[in-house]
Every structure is written in structure tokens, then in C-alpha cells.
């Protein structure tokens, strides 16, 4: 595609005018705002070039917020991929009756969109200080979750909550890919002497690799930019980047508006790197595709 269009670019194709509304809209409401952030991250309030905003990120509080956000995204994306993959594989390949599949897919559609504020409420009502499971464990078994060090408002508490939408998202995306594995591949591998593990390692996983990778990148970005759940759960004090940025936009608690640009720019860079990595690995791993 790129080669052909390079030659035809010199001639004006009037059909491109049909894309004008779409182009105008995306430029106004996606490209320009993003550019504004990127440019602003390198500008002084007076408009001249500076690296001071970026340098300003180098404080323990901001760096640790990035680090927590990255860890949170990596952990929830990894666990979401693993568990979601296992559930999808179990339903599709595990010999379960067919009627299990459709409800699971519908539920995944619901749960992956049931994020944000209400999700936080649901978990507070379940694992919070007076939540259903917390009380039940204490009354029936004398297990005190809090005394055992569990706190819903902590890193691992947040991980559990995020998994509620990460796992279903993985199931939704990976299920069609798993269904695309042909029965003959498994049989051909078996008849050639391969064990189930060898089949997965040498054939199935390499075939699924691009899909797995893409979903991982998506889950990473999904968790990295999420704010509503964490905000409703813990309020503004949790130290992750989106909440810091949120507080900064609302009340300028950092004092310097251009530091906000830098903060947002850092978020773009990180999701950009995650997706760049994905595209690069995908191109490398897909030599066997047209």
C-alpha cells in the first residue's frame, strides 16, 4: 500500500475530500489536544522552549507515581491475560458443553464495560471493611482480612478490582483467536508424536502470540489510563499518575500548570512505548503471515 500511494500522492485524488469531516473531527478533538500536551510539555508559560517541565518530573513523589502506575498496569495486564486466556481456553478447548460459551461471552461484554465508579462501589460492598465477604469470613471462620494485611484500598486491592474488567476484556479478544486454532493442527502434531505441551509450545502459542501481545498492550493502556475506579475507591490520595494528573488539572496542586503537560506527556510516552513495542514484536513474529 505505501509504495503505490507514494506515487499517486502527487496527483490530487478528489475522493480524499470525502474524508474531510472525519479528518476535521479527529484533528480538532484528538490530534490537536494531544499535540497541545506534547508541545506544552516543552514550553515555558511564555511560550519559549524548555526542558524544565520534563526535569520537574524528577521528584520522588512523581517518579513513584509513575512506577506504581506501571507496576499496576503490568500486573493487571499480565494476570488479566493469564486468567482470561485460561478461562477462554477452558471454555473453547476444555470439552465443556457448548451452552457455557454464549453466557460467558455475553457476561464478558458486560463486565469489561462495567468499570469506573460503580465497580468500585461493588467491591467496597464486597471486600470493604463491612463488605459481604469480609463479614462472612469473620463471622463464619473468624478470619480477619484486615488483620491479615489485606486492604482493598492498597495496590493489591486495586489489582483485584481492575481484574474484574481486565479478565473479561481478554476473554472477549482472545476467544476468536483460540477458536481459529484448527483441530487438524493439534491432530497433526499428536500423530507426529508431540505431547500436548509440545503442541502448545511449538505451534499453538506461536500462532496466538500476536493476538496475545496485542491484547496485553491493550490491557496495559486500559489500566494505565483508568482513573474513575481508583478515584471512587480511594479518593484523590492514591499515588498513581492519572490521579495525580486529575488533581493537578482540578486544583493545580503542583503549582505549575506546565508540569501538568509534562505529566500527561509522560503518560503518552509510556502507552506509546507499550504499543510501539507491540507493533515491533508483532511485525517480527508475523513473518509467516501475508
Amino acid at each position: 500500500m505505501p509504495i503505490r500511494s507514494a506515487t499517486s500522492r502527487f496527483r490530487f485524488n478528489p475522493h480524499w475530500l470525502g474524508l474531510l469531516p472525519f479528518a476535521l473531527f479527529t484533528v480538532l478533538f484528538l490530534v490537536l489536544p494531544t499535540m497541545k500536551i506534547v508541545v506544552g510539555a516543552f514550553q515555558t508559560p511564555e511560550g519559549s522552549f524548555t526542558l524544565n517541565n520534563i526535569r520537574g518530573l524528577n521528584t520522588p513523589s512523581i517518579l513513584s507515581s509513575y512506577w506504581v502506575s506501571i507496576q499496576l498496569s503490568l500486573v493487571t495486564a499480565t494476570l488479566g491475560c493469564l486468567v482470561g486466556f485460561m478461562m477462554a481456553a477452558a471454555v473453547i478447548l476444555g470439552g465443556l458443553p457448548r451452552w457455557v460459551r454464549s453466557p460467558l461471552m455475553t457476561f464478558s461484554g458486560v463486565a469489561s464495560n462495567f468499570a469506573g465508579v460503580p465497580l468500585a462501589f461493588a467491591f467496597l460492598a464486597t471486600l470493604g471493611p463491612v463488605g459481604l465477604v469480609t463479614l462472612w469470613l469473620r463471622q463464619e471462620f473468624g478470619i480477619n482480612l484486615r488483620a491479615m494485611g489485606f486492604n482493598l484500598l492498597s495496590f493489591w486491592g486495586l489489582v483485584i478490582v481492575y481484574l474484574f474488567f481486565q479478565i473479561p476484556l481478554m476473554i472477549l479478544i482472545i476467544a476468536p483467536a483460540i477458536e481459529g486454532l484448527k483441530r487438524e493442527w493439534r491432530e497433526a502434531a499428536a500423530i507426529l508424536g508431540a505431547t500436548g505441551a509440545q503442541y502448545w509450545r511449538m505451534v499453538a502459542l506461536p500462532i496466538l502470540f500476536p493476538s496475545l501481545l496485542g491484547t496485553f498492550a491493550l490491557l496495559f493502556a486500559n489500566s494505565f489510563g483508568a482513573i474513575a475506579t481508583a478515584f471512587a475507591l480511594t479518593g484523590p490520595q492514591l499515588n498513581i499518575v492519572p490521579i495525580k494528573l486529575f488533581a493537578q488539572i482540578r486544583g493545580d496542586v503542583l503549582g505549575d500548570p506546565h508540569l501538568g503537560y509534562a505529566l500527561a506527556f509522560g503518560m503518552i510516552v509510556i502507552t506509546g512505548i507499550a504499543n510501539g513495542l507491540y507493533i515491533w514484536l508483532r511485525v517480527r513474529s508475523e513473518r509467516w503471515l501475508k
Partner: protein
Amino acid sequence: MAFLEIEHLEKSFGTNRVVKDFNLSVAKGEFISLLGPSGCGKTTVLRMVAGFESPSTGAIRIDGKDVVKLRPNQRNIGMVFQAYALFPNLTVAQNVAFGLKVAGVGRAEREARVVEMLRLIGLPDKGPSYPFQLSGGQQQRVALARALAVRPQVLLLDEPLSALDAKIRVSLRAEIRQIQRELGITTIFVTHDQEEALSMSDRVVVMNGGVAEQVAEPFEIYNRPATRFVANFVGQLNRIEARVIAPTTGEIEIGGTRHMLGRSLPSGDVALALRPEALHMGADPARELNLTGQVTEVDFLGSVIRLRVDVAGNRLSADVFNRPDAPPPALNSTVTLSASASDLIILTA
């Protein structure tokens, strides 16, 4: 001593018995075809030999050893699938080497075997290609090489030619047969195409409704079908309704005309079956059966002319060779066809 033995094999899915008391013994190096319409149980038999389905009852022995309890990856069998089933993420060489790799064969030996196999299938340069870069026929040859690379005891071919173009189908047919002879590998070939079965096999098993109707060499199957189903399924067949006048001398009446066949027949009404090529143009006193009728259709196919002739209400197909000196008969003209009594197949059942 048979190399592959199948005894009293049965398979039921729920209450549906798809294979019923199937018996077959295959000699070492023999090429056997399972021929039948879809749903006749031929693929199920093959999948039980491979180990993908387990028999409800019965035994499968390879070289004297019962394999029913073994998993597919323990049976040392090669298999080629209808849809190629090459691993898309591996190159041709890696596909061929797959079975050797999982068996723990060393790299040097693997590479040597891959070279040998690719030469065997006539694709020595395709090692680094990926499956999507090959044509269907090439992919299927690679699949064959992959199956053969592990030196299996038995080769199973599950309709390997059905997905290919007609022309490649015919050429690959000969190629598979030649490679099979060269390696002397015991082979079971499943197909619904009678031409494939007849042209490639040492023996053919015609299956219907989960039962082996006849097991015989292609010549036998075609010329002396054991059952009405075999007669109808393999090749084209003309049916002539006749009434037997004298069973011992073989005198019969077809549409009011009497014929003397000179062979004994059952009494009453019989159906006489005749291959289209057993009918010859023109009256011939040397042949017992001379039938006169009206030409209703003339298909000029090149070397062969297919005629449709109405003989006393029986619509007969006759295949006659093209002769440059004699144009085919005109439509609606009256012709006489002759046939030998020994070519007649008497269907009583």
C-alpha cells in the same frame, strides 16, 4: 502374515452405530483405499487407526501389537489431512522436521532427513518458505513429506486430494502412489472418489452404512461387484429389466424379444446390469445379446462417444470409441447394440 489387522471394530456415537463389525487385514507395503459416500464410516475407521477416536469394541493391531490403548503420539503413524494442516508459523523445513524434533532427533540428522524428504516430493528449494507461499498441491506434498519424515509404520491419507484442482489431483495421485511404492509403506487412503480409489490401490474397501460391502482388487470391484450398492456406487451401470423364460439355458425376454444367453439364471424377473463400455455398436452374431432401440442423446466427448438408447423402455448408456471413418449415429435413428453374456452382472438382491 498381515501387518495391520483390524478385527470386529465397532464405533457408536450415542445410539448411532457408525462403524459395524469392520474387519480388514493389510499386508506390509499394501495400498488400501476406503471408498464410500460421506457418512459411511470410512473416516471414522481411519481416525480410530490414528487414535483420534477410540473404538467401542474391537482390536487394531500393527505389526502384531495392539494399539487401541495407545495415544496418537505413541503409535508411530503418519497422517495427511484433507486441509493440509501445515503449521502456518513454521517454514516448510521446520514442518517436515517437526516429528523428528519432538522425538529428540539430533540437528544434523534432522537436516539430512529434511533434505531427503524435500527431494522425494520434488520441492528441494522450498525449505525456507512458509506454507502460505506455496500452492495447494505443494502444501499437500509438504504435508506428505512431514508425515513420512518420522518413518512411520503406517501412512494414513484422509481425502488428501479433495481440496485440490482437478489437474493437480490427477498428477499428485500418481506421485503419491510412486512415493508409496518407493518406500514400501503400508498405506490406508480414504476417499469418496472412485477414480482415485480404483487407480491408486492394491485393494479397495467399499463401505456403506458403517459396513464393508466388498474388499477386493480394483478390477474385481469394478467388474464383479459383490452387492448392488457396490455395483451402483462404483462406475456407471445400465439396468435392464428382463424376465427369465428358461433358467437353465438362460433364455430371457426383454420387451417382447427373446434372447438366449447360454448361462444359468435364477428364475422370475431379474435385473441385468451392464457397464456402458460393454455395449458395442452394431449387430454382432458372436455376442449373445443384440438389442435394438432408438437414440435419444448423443454426447461427443472426444475419444469416447456416449449414447443414450431407449430399448423397450430401458434407457441404456453406451460408451463407444470415436472412429474417424464413421460419424456417430443421428438422433432418433434406430441402432442395434451388442453385448456378451459374460459381461452381464446379474443383480438379484
